[in-house]
Amino acid sequence: MPLPTGDTIGILADNLRLRRSVLPIPTESAIRWTRGLDLPRGGERVLYTGLMYQLIPYIEELVKAESRLAESWLSGFTGIGRQVNKLVNVSGFMAHPTREQLETYDRIPRNVALLLKRAGVAFGALYEDDLYSGALAYDLGADETLREHAQKVYATLKRHGVKEAVTIDPHTTNMLRSVYPTLIEDYDLEVRNYLEVLSGLDLAPSRQLEGDVAIHDSCVFARYEGVLHEPRQLLEGLGLTLREPLHAGTMTWCCGGPVESLFPEKAAEQAGRRVTELNAVAERGVTMCPLCYVNLQKAANGRMRFDDISDYLIRGYEP
């Protein structure tokens, strides 16, 4: 039995309003990926993570804790939990990811930063001011909270002199590029995803990779943002043979991730169906979104292996 929908949305929206993220995480976890990269603070172009990858270990642990809570007598008290959460960050007490989980999701923004450096792209980072975009609040219809948060994000970007944000995941790309302009007057931020940036640079790979890989298009990239040929061009440029599942490109099937916060069982069922489709064409899969990655990896349960696209790109394009 899932937790009450209204209380769950209420807690997520309260967190965004009070703590600038649907699931607040320690600053150290938000910025650990920047260690040793020597990235300037701010500037006209920044690599903007929107915390999406850094949040995943905490979301994984929170979903586990929610599942335990839903099965306990405490599930009848989520309304009280929401009131307490307004004063104390309750979700912060519930999620304790392991070092291994944290390292996995720090690696991906690091990969992207190294790839951009290798490509000669100049960029900075916003460190603790790299804020969550509000994508989940948008999906759940918490529009007033989102509108207020979007203004905070935009003001922060402006304060740092940012003119262009290079994004990593599809959800942050969609929010900053397509949703924010509908919420903020005179919005003038240029937004490109790193796959778009790299694919436009005619990079020569430093080594060739071999093998078949099933490509899992993110719904948001494929149907909201039109990012389809860029990942294919980059992966095929490395020598990989891309295998397209039954539902691919603009007909791609979702990983189930968008309903994870409210209905984890439904999310897992959809992820399982998608893994079966992908596994029918290859034993390895490539994802471009942290939600797809975590959901499909979990549903595969050893049936097949998934890697983020940046893990392939870093192997092929790094010296």
Partner: protein
């Protein structure tokens, strides 16, 4: 007996993007939905258009089970903005039922 409240659609509609009335009930969305949602979008959209608020309020789980993946929208022959319409319904639930 179902009660119809004509002003209901205006409470759900948030923007010019909301176009539930463009749905012609062809059923492509239902056939293609990876989640197998039977009532969403077309049946619930019809309730909205007809002002049947009570029927919509019974469909809370369905409205929040949509992935917003836009596979249905991509294939909708009537150009219904399905994802935005579902988001509008969620916003309505947030305000009306959850007091957010």
């Amino acid at each position: 007996m179902a009660v119809a409240r004509p002003a209901f659609i205006d409470e759900v509609r948030q923007s010019e993007q909301f176009n539930a009335s463009a749905c012609m009930n062809c059923g492509v969305c239902t056939a293609i939905c990876p989640m197998g949602l039977e009532h969403l979008p077309r049946e619930i959209f019809r309730y909205v258009v007809l002002g049947m608020e009570d029927e919509v309020l019974k469909e809370q789980e369905t409205v929040f089970s949509c992935l917003l993946c836009k596979l249905c929208e991509e294939n909708c022959p009537a150009g219904v903005h399905i994802a935005e319409n579902v988001r509008s319904l969620r916003h309505y639930f947030d305000r009306k039922a959850f007091r957010i």
